[in-house]
């Protein structure tokens, strides 16, 4: 009953939202279309459930589950290597953009997903990297591969400057401070004419080259981005399975308890923060090299929000999730181009729907899944009488505990 009501109310609400700019007729049609879609989904949803059962019981799936992770990863890598051969220039360009965002999202995921700190000015580190390469290459002839570590160090320093005073803040306060930081960075870039060229930005940034070998073609860039994705994924995966990774989870779940265990939470937050910042800094270099032009317009607050959406949409703390989320948020708007003005509306509606129906993200990490949806987690101070304790007590009258 309740779900039926929901199905009726949802399209109505969206229709009301669309009314002001679509007109009554179009909004009504949209609402009606959505209603039909929901009803269809509800009707076939049960059948989909049936298909799912059959699918789960298929012998092929058993087999697929037995294939080791390494082979899956190898196959994915091979497919990624072959990709430039089969797609045209336009799609390759979108793929490179998606790749850059994937690395950015993976980097932000370290601080948001693993450490559990909401940072909103992330794009400032990306901007720092991009401008570092722009200035170093156009004025001092520094090469792409020398600028990569330089940008990483610069972003790291910026991260420390921001992190040392602010990481003692929690939740909302940290979000607001970093938001301010992101805006300050953009405004500085916009006004420091002597160094950054102000709103005009910096043009004629050289393409990457290695020992005189030009690596400027889109295919080369594609492989540079792919290498970055692999590198960052590898680092995060290692981090996740280490002592530090567990300490990060502990800190995210209960900071006080983590401190009581001897975890230096300030250091740990700084570590996560600097790793994030360095990743963004390096990607800034790649971005500047790809575009051969940088201006403050590329580093607005909106970009920070987009990257954050990628992390949340894909599934916090999950590497495949974040990759999928970033890819989806770059590719989908391209597909939605035909909707023109409504593109962002569709995008917004999709985000709202995601947060309601699948708050844990598309491919959540195992741990996050448990934190978010496991109903068996008891609230911390709930009174619970454990029957098994009584039983054990009655069976063995030992004075041993539990």
């Amino acid at each position: 009953m309740k779900s039926t009501l929901k199905i009726l109310l949802w399209p109505l609400w969206i229709g009301l939202l669309c009314w002001p700019f679509m007109g009554l007729r179009a909004a009504g049609l949209t609402a009606f279309g959505l209603l039909l879609l929901f009803l269809l989904f509800r009707f076939f949803g049960r059948k989909i459930g049936l298909f799912k059962d059959i699918f789960l019981k298929m012998p092929g799936r058993e087999l697929a589950g037995r294939v080791p992770r390494k082979i899956w990863l190898g196959a994915a890598l091979l497919a990624a290597m072959m990709l430039p051969l089969v797609i045209n220039k336009y799609y390759l360009d979108i793929t490179i953009t998606a790749g850059i965002y994937i690395v950015l999202a993976l980097g932000l995921n370290i601080i948001v997903g693993l450490a559990g700190l909401l940072v909103l000015g992330y794009i400032a580190f990306y901007a720092a990297g991009a401008y570092a390469y722009a200035i170093l290459s156009t004025q001092y002839n520094v090469s792409f591969f020398a600028a990569l570590p330089a940008a990483a160090v610069l972003a790291l320093l910026l991260g420390l400057v921001l992190g040392v005073p602010t990481l003692r803040l929690r939740g909302d306060y940290l979000a607001i401070v970093t938001l301010g930081f992101g805006e300050i960075a953009r405004i500085v870039l916009n006004n420091w004419d002597g160094l950054t060229g102000g709103p005009n930005g910096i043009m004629h940034i050289p393409k990457p080259s290695l020992f005189g070998l030009k690596l400027g073609s889109p295919v080369h860039l594609y492989f540079i981005v792919l290498a970055m994705i692999i590198l960052v994924s590898f680092v995060i995966d290692r981090l996740n399975n280490s002592r530090l990774g567990r300490a990060l989870v502990a800190m995210r779940e209960d900071e006080t308890a983590a401190r009581a265990c001897g975890v230096n939470t300030v250091k740990l937050k700084l570590l996560a923060f600097s790793l994030s910042a360095m990743t963004a800094g390096m990607m800034g270099v790649v971005f500047a090299a790809k575009m051969s032009f940088v201006s403050p317009e590329s580093f607005t607050f909106w970009e920070s929000i987009m990257v954050l959406c990628m992390v949340v949409l894909g599934g916090m703390a999950s590497i495949p999730g974040v990759i999928l989320g970033a890819a989806a948020l770059v590719v989908l708007p391209e597909i939605f181009r035909q909707f023109q003005n409504y593109r962002m509306l569709v995008f917004g509606a999709a985000m709202v729907a995601m947060m309601i129906f699948r708050p844990q993200g598309l491919l959540p990490s195992k741990r996050r899944r448990l934190e978010l949806e496991d109903p068996t987690l008891p609230p911390i101070n709930q009174e619970r009488v454990d029957i098994t304790f009584h039983k054990i007590n009655q069976q063995s009258k030992t004075s041993e505990v539990i």
Binding site: R243, R246, A247, V249, A250, E253, D254, T256, A257, A258, R259, A260, C261, G262, V263, N264, V266, R367, R368, L370, E371, D374, T376, L377, P378, I380, N381, Q382, E383, R384, V385, D386, T388, F389, H390, I392, N393, S399, E400, V401, I402
Partner: protein, 234 residues
């Protein structure tokens, strides 16, 4: 072993502890009793470096640890088991215990601690691959204590270990506390359950709105008229 002199702690401009003085000698169980809001948990968190200290001095094993960071203090062997069963619900029992030994880098050392702790809490051994959040309340409290023991503490600070647990489990918790003392650790116990605490405590302090108002042996406090009236419900 632990000597706290004139300890003052504030939250913002609100002073919660107005200069309390107490000490714990090696091998003792010392209970700090008081009503809700008396400042018991504040005192314990200040000692373990989780809350900043406004004034006074804290000495542990003859060293001044006032204002030292929490991880240093844990490293010195003064370990807090926080109030309210604060285990990590998304980590397995085993991972929770590993985090207890976060500062111990020697693997063999860690293994020994783990074996010893699982020996004290056989139920945790059974559940070692289960997520902490799926344990019952009593088991969670046991896990919290076990996690504290993983750091090989010289002294354990227990913050309301019996809070919100069924009486039969409270019995077991207090049994464990005595076992831990027998194994050589010193214990500072902060509790609302005055009766049970004083039964096992060598000495006790009564904390009232940020001041220590009474200090005596556990036995003496159990029969003290004012303690009886205020805390023992007799």
């Amino acid at each position: 072993m632990l000597k706290v002199t004139n300890l003052k702690v504030s939250y913002g401009s609100l002073e919660v502890l107005h200069g309390i003085t107490f000490q714990v000698n090696p091998g003792e169980i010392v209970a700090v009793l008081g009503a809700n809001g008396a400042g018991k948990s504040t005192a314990i968190s200040a000692v373990s470096g989780i809350l900043p200290v406004r004034g006074g001095k804290i000495e542990f094993s003859g060293q001044d640890i006032t204002g030292r960071p929490a991880d240093d203090i844990v490293g010195m062997g003064l370990v807090q088991v926080p109030e309210g069963r604060r285990i990590f619900p998304g980590l397995t029992v085993r991972e929770n215990l590993d985090l207890g030994a976060y500062l111990i880098s020697d693997k063999k050392h860690k293994q020994e601690s783990l074996a010893k702790v699982l020996d004290i809490f056989p139920k945790l051994k059974e559940r070692r691959n289960q997520k902490g959040g799926t344990l019952s309340g009593g088991e969670q409290q046991m896990l919290a204590i076990a996690r504290g023991l993983m750091a090989r503490p010289k002294m354990l600070l227990l913050d309301e270990p019996s809070l919100g647990l069924a009486p039969i489990i409270v019995d077991r918790i207090f049994q464990v506390i005595q076992n831990i003392r027998q194994s050589g650790a010193t214990i500072l116990l902060v509790e609302q359950n005055a009766q049970r605490s004083l039964e096992i405590a060598d000495r006790g302090y009564i904390l009232e709105t940020g001041n220590i108002v009474l200090e005596d042996t556990g036995k003496a406090l159990l029969v003290n008229e004012s303690v009886k009236a205020s805390y023992l419900g007799a």
